[in-house]
Symmetry: D2
Subunit: 350 residues, 4 copies
């Protein structure tokens, strides 16, 4: 079952490959392995046990259809995957997932996937920043427009510098969010009691191994998810603003910019048209963000030690939000890179 067609427009980003089923499985396996490693480092597991877990994680040959069936029955993908790891670990089964709860593993896996996705997004935002820099070099003047009416002219470099500042801010915010993303490790009720006396030490080493921040359990105190929601919705908002400006400047009656591309934006029925498809796709992608973020904020109301539904309702929406923002960034970079300015049109409107 595939969803490539609509994704080609509103999820057009390498983030897809960083958040699909294969990425989920890989992240879960990486987390289980890192947990055993950390427990080995503090002496909670002996070397043979750690090696057995690591090998099980490497050997796991996951049948995605079967894993999906197990996910539906158990309520999350970690439960069936741990069962498989235990059977692979043989006599060391008890060392697999030791003291942890499935939410520990899935939350940590989602943080890894989010961090990697943000890397992709900020790289595309960086491409966009570079392209804006190129637009700012010439000495053009553009009509300033307020409430869609002509106001006063301003330097084009000043206008696009506003775009650049917005993108740079977004980049720095997203990087801050990525750096703060924590591991999740607390056991069934989040207090670490099943993880033994060396719980905090294990957690610190686990975080260190994965390159995530160390933090007490946040099973139902979803600040890291809120930070992702906020950072990604903000990024999409900035991208959407710039994409809208490009679409408006490219309007037939304004025509101060156009996207120049040998292969994009044709209309089969109307060959005279040239649609700024990249800016339009950036805008369409960015528009998904506010509602996905609202969903994540609304899921913060989680019951007691682990939620009865609100946690499950986060997963695919977080993934969609990473993809939507990634797609917006990718398309905006494409648009700005291909943008051609018409100095005569700029002149005519002053």
């Amino acid at each position: 079952m595939s969803d490539e067609l609509f994704a080609a427009v509103v999820a057009h980003t390498a983030v897809r490959g960083q958040t699909d089923d294969a990425a989920v499985v890989a992240a879960i396996l990486r987390v289980e392995s890192a947990l055993a490693d950390a427990q080995g480092q503090v002496g909670d597991l002996d070397d043979a046990a750690v090696a057995a877990v690591r090998e099980a994680c490497e050997a796991a040959d996951v049948d995605l259809d079967e894993l999906a069936r197990g996910t539906a029955l158990g309520g999350n993908p970690v439960i069936p995957l741990v069962n498989e790891l235990k059977s692979l670990a043989g006599s060391h089964a008890g060392a697999v997932h030791r003291g942890a709860t499935s939410q520990d593993v899935l939350d940590t896996a989602l943080m890894l996937m989010s961090r990697d996705s943000i890397g992709t997004i900020t790289a595309d935002v960086g491409r966009a920043v570079t392209s804006v820099g190129d637009l700012a070099t010439d000495d053009h003047t553009v009509m300033g427009r307020t409430l869609m009416q002509s106001a006063l002219p301003l330097p084009l470099a000043t206008k696009v510098d506003g775009w650049r500042r917005g993108l740079a801010d977004v980049s720095s915010r997203l990087s801050d969010v990525a750096v703060g993303l924590p591991v999740q490790l607390g056991g069934p009720v989040g207090d670490g009691s099943t993880l033994g006396e060396r719980y905090e030490d294990v957690r610190a080493r686990f975080a260190d191994a994965l390159g995530l921040a160390d933090a007490p359990s946040w099973h139902t105190m979803r600040l890291p998810v809120a930070d992702l929601a906020a950072g990604l919705a903000t990024a999409s908002g900035v991208i959407g603003k710039i994409a809208l400006d490009v679409v408006l400047l490219a309007q037939a009656e304004v025509a101060e910019v156009r996207e120049v591309s040998s292969d994009r934006g044709g209309s089969s029925s109307m060959p005279h048209k040239s649609n700024p498809i990249a800016a339009i796709s950036a805008r369409a992608s960015a528009r998904r963000a506010p509602h996905l973020a609202a969903h994540l904020f609304a899921q913060m109301e989680q019951e007691h030690e682990r939620a009865a539904g609100a946690w499950h309702a986060e997963w695919s929406v977080l993934v969609d939000l990473l993809r939507a923002t990634g797609s917006a960034a990718w398309w905006l970079a494409e648009s700005l890179t291909s943008l051609e300015i018409d100095p005569e049109a700029l002149e005519r409107h002053q």
Copy 2:
């Protein structure tokens, strides 16, 4: 690239198969074929041309990866697919997609997919209604609870009859929405001018062939999408309310109901637990709806004759909303079918 794992919880429904890439392609081909048929009926195309289009639609052997690439370049999947049909139709290429615009075809295809998906959803809602009926047969009394405090007892049959009425209303609303879903046919600027003098006759026959309602072009007046958003969000709201009641009644300290299932809801780390996984998954699925619906309402602000982004931003969200509601309905039916009542617990709380 697959997204089966998280879908196993929050998109657990046959609607997925009715809305994936293969379903999109099949619906587009059906629409193109029906258009040529309708144009043949009124004499705009001769029999050979109609046959050529029909055969091209049947013969089309779509490479989804390539189609996805073409979608990204053109801005929607119809443009590359029409190109393929034209090349298959050979000398009758001009009969393919005659007078239509790509939004005509994709909107109509989405209406077909929505109608079929609603059929699945109402069938699962019907299963839930039947199960509620079974719960209402015995002569139990349940404590009525307001603001989560004990209020006054009421017949359990009265309580669950409120669930049944809600589900029945939802079913009838969704059926009304499905019946009203219209074809889209208007040509590039929606006025039908490229579809010739017999435009309205063609449109009526096109609608008739597809079993959709006939209506003037709604390229940027998105009432059918708003109707879907409203009907599906309402349905999810009702389902979420019932699922919440089940989760609350199944709480450890209440324990008046439990989901009895041989294979669902176990906890690997805590064998004494029995989680009402179906109700929890129904709730998680239903919670996606309000925000997806808000997104669709927010996209109603579309420019002139066709929108620069807001239309593109609808597609996958409409699909997600159909799937989320379908998943909520499926899980609720599972939950209610497996529900076992504990008469002693009911008694104890009065």
Copy 3:
């Protein structure tokens, strides 16, 4: 404490006066009086008791500040208001609010306020429809624009007829919603048991007296609120689309229409500007709707017989949604009434 300034732009409608504190109190008093009347008609109250309740409702001289304090303490405004009515009714205190619960009264009051507000909204939509009709009389042609690029010309009458159809649909939908709005009457746990043997008869007469539909209790099955959310968000969506078209047509570089008003839209710093303030305000008002509707859909997940928070979270958002939609309708009517077309500009862009 007043909020008139921002309301002057995004809540500019007579709906405000139909939904403010005075309107809430008046509606509650009307509901309490109608309930006693209905109970008198079936013989549950004698004439003296009915008269005493009616007189208490007429005599009630509510101090809003004190009522607000009582509302905060009790959790809703009905509790303190009923206390005052009971003290006014003296020996007939027992006849006040007999068998009812505070949610019965507040829900019914909100349905009355919603119905009246929809009357205002559809009247303003009607004004807009009339103005669109005036725009359609001349024989102009306008450039059709897709993805903000020039596509093909079409008759201006056809373009604006799309607006008219959207507005007419909205009007008919809102009227349908208004007609279906039901009373709420069920007593503490919604089963009518505290309302006696003639409960259903009382409910029918209560509904009849208030001109609302009769329906079983919907304390936690919020379909009427969902219908309002859907109808109002759809209406705002249609209005927002038309307002956007006006704003785009009024752009400096297009200038095919402008709002002509002796007093609106000036800019103190830039006297050469003429902003289409009415269309802009319509758009700003309409944009509030999707998110307010999402909130109401999200509150449908209500616990057992009465919700612990989700019901309280509905009230002011429903009011805001009525006002936002009312404001959008009012401003759109203003805009369309003042719209002047520039035939030369229409010509120039073809």
Copy 4:
């Protein structure tokens, strides 16, 4: 026209007085005065002119009804207010609002109001933190609950320490947001050209006088509004989680805590009930936040130098979000302060 009744539940906070009409007018006057001061400091205005502006701001005797009418005609409240100031300033009229645009003034005023409101919110969050500390002192154990089923016991101090950490994080985030809130000053098209050669110096002094951050114009790059949306929605999410826990612990069948208050939470029809009204009101208030935040994120897509609707659509929603979060914080502090623990109930459920 007043809206006190529903506000008594979901906007129960001193933030109301910091964001009503009087507060808007006061903030606008403060901003105009600070601007003249800053221009005086750099020598753009002479002392007499600065004094005249300051006196006009002090003397302004605003008729709110008339100002609301002017707001509707001009599109924002600054335009009519500046007209009044100019007439009060007599021969120094030219010194009023010199080089500024109305959005400069209203945005800066909203940042002042937001900063002051955050002060109120964090104070109430601080009260809640203190109360949580009191709950954590005894040596109780509580059943840990996952998916609403009993899991394993944990120390109550550990459970409530999770609440405390969440609140402390929220407090620090909100303070960071407040510190970063910038002035807005850029003139009609945001480039500062109308503010003269000493524009950046004026802006820095203007920021300094108001205690806001200095930043280039962000008329259509709405990062400060996004930061407020993110911070406030996150705060409401944390508060809502804790309020939900309280409501669940206070359930009749759990009864491990209850709100003890001499005057709150009674039920006129059911004297045996004791509703945790403060926690319920906190939850109802907090639930408004995600959708208000989504609205603000969605308005980031603003046109060119100043938006045609999206800016206007921000004002009252930002105010509502400040109030909703303030109300959630106030009620949570009330709830936690009044919370009584039942050690026997805690014991019984293990």
